[in-house]
Amino acid sequence: MKQELIIAGFGGQGVLSMGKILAYSGLIEGKEVTWMPAYGPEQRGGTANVTVIVSDEPISSPILSSYDTAIILNQPSMEKFEDKVKPGGTLIYDGYGINNPPTRKDINVYRIDAMDVAAEMNLIKIFNMIILGGYLKLHPIVEIDSVLKALKKTLPERHHHLIPQNEEAIRKGMELVK
């Protein structure tokens, strides 16, 4: 089993941390993982993306030309990465902020309106966890339990009381994917 994915959006949306939690969850399950950010002069609102690979086998390149899954959270990223999903692969996007939805017919496209749902739930800050939940429903590469352990490991202790909310968001994301 191997998943090569790109998560891309605006800085501040939790793109890098979503990738980090996924990588940690893989680590907890004893899998091979890489997390490679496209770093730049980062700022809130700038574009950010991270390549995450979770695999049962040793991983060669942390940098890829095509992906099993693309999680796309803004229009510039859609333009950059829609073409780079492998045929038969998965593209997940949030309707919020995407003006031109994907047009490819040879991939599986899922829209998750996580931003809207997060606003309704008053959980704007963890909208990325709704997206992650949706992804894990489609590609259960790690157990939810491992994700919760990963959250405990990556979040500073003062934020540990937010873990149940994160779990709620993940489960909500799983429900949203049809």
């Binding site: 940690y24 890489t34 770093y39 390149s61």
Partner: protein, 359 residues
């Protein structure tokens, strides 16, 4: 943290943890992207409270390297880290360290140049690291990690080699290996050496003189050219010994290969993926990865000329190591180069295309 715990961290963070664990006495550095996490992690870990290791943010890279000179002159395990423009500033100091035969570790998490360039990954500092950079006939021992695990492992190895040969060692990494997170098992803790141990292992060190020994003088200055020539001849003998004894490399799927990619560091990772793709199309290709860039694995590269039809040198630069490869195979087989410049990283499929073009 348990010694054998598997953890997830960036290459830069691994350098910092490994430094503390291998008994490093001092780190002197100045922040620069993409290596700032080295200094940041050391500041977070506060090793001065545990092992007694000094961590100091100097006012510039020039200061950092000269603080390293001072510490190394006392036989201490000292290091600095920076990225390309910062390492350029250190070149005078590195020539002095090599001239005074002082062991130390310099880490370069390189980025795109020339000049201030970009902050994205690049391997364009191969020439600077392996062919001088500073003035004079000197060599650095240059190790090129291609994983976060090797970032951690090569810190101790660099110090070991630096002290064995009384020579500065360099870890030449780049923004990919520095910034990516991977699984790593950190090396076990080694205590810092006591002054007594240093006096025994590094009797040349300027660590305070006992009554019955002559003063130890640490210098690269010698105004008498005939003496200076002798010093140079001795240095060259030492370099020849390093070339003979310390070559390190990895071979990957070369057994049945018709073509070889030679690549180091992050490019070697991309090469492995390209090999996976190319073999999927029936192209038999393997990888030779120099782990020591200097000493360069001359014999191993030379042996490829009887084994494969052609070599692709994959470097994230305009073609630097390719010169050493051509020299090693004496241009007896075609050697092509593929690279991207200025902070752009070649994708695995581009490498496959370059390979096909060479065939």
């Amino acid at each position: 943290m348990a010694d054998q715990e598997i953890t997830l961290m960036k290459g830069n963070e691994a350098i910092a943890h490994a430094a503390i664990r291998c008994g490093c006495d001092g780190y002197f550095g100045y922040p620069i992207t993409p290596q700032s996490e080295v200094l940041e992690t050391l500041a977070e870990q506060k090793p001065w409270e545990t092992t007694g290791m000094v961590v100091l943010q100097a006012e510039s890279e020039v200061s950092s390297i000269n603080m390293v000179y001072g510490g190394a002159g006392c036989g201490k395990k000292v290091m600095t880290s920076s990225s390309s423009p910062g390492v350029s500033l250190m070149q005078e100091g590195m020539s002095y360290l090599a001239g005074a035969e002082l062991p130390c570790l310099v880490v370069n998490v390189s980025r795109g140049g020339p000049g201030l360039g970009t902050i994205q990954p690049s391997q364009a500092d191969y020439f600077q690291s392996c062919k001088g950079g500073g003035h004079g006939d000197y060599r650095l021992i240059v190790l090129a990690p291609s994983s976060v695990q090797e970032m951690a492992d090569f810190v101790d190895l660099s110090f070991e080699l630096a002290f064995k040969y009384r020579n500065p060692a360099m870890i030449l990494s780049d923004g990919v290996i520095g910034q990516m997170m991977e699984k790593v098992v950190l090396p076990p803790f080694k205590p810092r050496r006591t002054e007594e141990q240093i006096k025994k292992e590094a009797p040349w060190a300027a660590l305070g003189r006992d009554k019955n020994r002559k003063p130890n003088i640490i210098t690269s200055l010698e105004l008498d050219p005939s003496v200076m020539e002798d010093i140079n001849i001795r240095l060259q003998k030492k370099y020849a010994q390093i070339q003979e004894n310390e070559v390190r490399y990895e071979e990957y799927m070369l057994e049945d290969a018709d073509y070889a990619i030679v690549a180091f560091g992050s490019a070697a990772r991309i090469a492995k993926k390209a090999i996976e793709l190319a073999r999927g199309e029936g192209i038999k290709v393997g990888l030779l990865r120099p782990i020591t860039l200097w000493p360069f694995p001359i014999k191993q590269v030379a042996a490829l000329k009887d084994k494969v039809k052609g070599i692709l040198s994959l470097e994230i630069n305009a073609g630097q190591m390719v010169e050493d490869i051509r020299l090693a195979v004496e241009c007896k087989i075609p050697v092509a180069h593929y690279g991207r410049l200025g902070g752009i990283i070649p994708a695995p499929d581009e490498v496959v295309d370059a390979l096909k073009k060479m065939m």
